[in-house]
Amino acid sequence: MDEVLLSKIRLAVIGQLVNARWVTFSELAQQIDATNGNLSAHIAKLVESGYVKEEKRFEGRRPQSRYSLTKSGRAALLDHVTALQTLAAGQ
């Protein structure tokens, strides 16, 4: 079981990114039920683990952060889901 993905918020972030090329922070904040500060901390953990790639840029004059899933993040999600399925099947 992947310790990083045990958090429901981090799992939700990975879920949001799995079929996306990239997603902005504001979009993640809108989709996931968490405060901006809390979400920021969880995303930082995912970035630190190498599961999520962060790209900072300016959109007009406003700074914007957008995120994409890395190969190791995708592999970690698959492994984690397999582990969850095994656990869930064990009743």
Partner: protein
């Protein structure tokens, strides 16, 4: 972790993955412009074929193709400002771009030597209907139907000597203009959650 908690986490992942980025969303403006421009190009050829006096192709095609490029650039800029971009939208865009590159290469190299003007029009329609079918299969019933309609028009056109270009023009309208108009109205075009 308890098994009940594991099931809860699994269902949360299922819900998110089933609900996000399942639809291919192409820019409606680009679909509309491509449909109208290509229908005009084929329509002009059809008009010439039935004896109507129309300007030479180069006077019509160059500004219209420049219009497609301009709208393509604007839409690509707009896509960069979006809040998210799905993988399948990227693949669908790549399929259409490849269709353009392949056909344009043939247009430059083989037209007039191996393929006639009319034959090349059929190649353009066939290649783009294939790209639409590909995009549709990934996640858009609308584009799938549009690709099928365009392919049907392309196949049908080859049986009409006199009305070939006109039938191809109808194919471009059905393949690009119609889905563009539907998407511009904000109607969902995808398969919906598949899980």
């Amino acid at each position: 972790m308890e098994s009940s908690e594991a099931r809860e986490h699994l269902s949360a992942v299922d819900r998110i993955v089933a609900a996000t980025d399942r639809e291919v969303r192409l820019p409606p403006a680009l679909l509309i412009v491509v449909g109208v421009v290509c229908a005009i190009i084929n329509g002009v050829r059809q008009a010439r074929g039935i004896g109507i006096d129309v300007p030479a192709d180069q006077y019509i095609q160059l500004p219209l193709i420049a219009l497609i490029v301009l709208v393509g650039l604007v839409e690509s800029r707009r896509a960069q400002r979006a809040r998210r971009e799905s993988l399948i939208a990227g693949y669908a865009g790549a399929a259409l771009f490849c269709a353009f590159i392949v056909t344009m290469t043939l247009n430059i190299t083989a037209q007039h030597r191996l393929i006639s003007d009319t034959g090349m029009s059929v190649v353009w329609s066939a290649t783009f209907s294939m790209a639409l079918l590909f995009a549709g299969m990934m996640g858009s019933r609308l584009l799938l139907a549009a690709g099928a309609a365009m392919l049907a028009c392309t196949a049908l056109a080859t049986y009409f000597d006199t009305w070939l270009s006109g039938t191809l023009a109808i194919g471009w309208l059905l393949g690009f203009l119609v889905p563009g108009l539907v998407l511009a109205r904000g109607v969902s075009n995808g398969r919906g959650p598949a899980l």
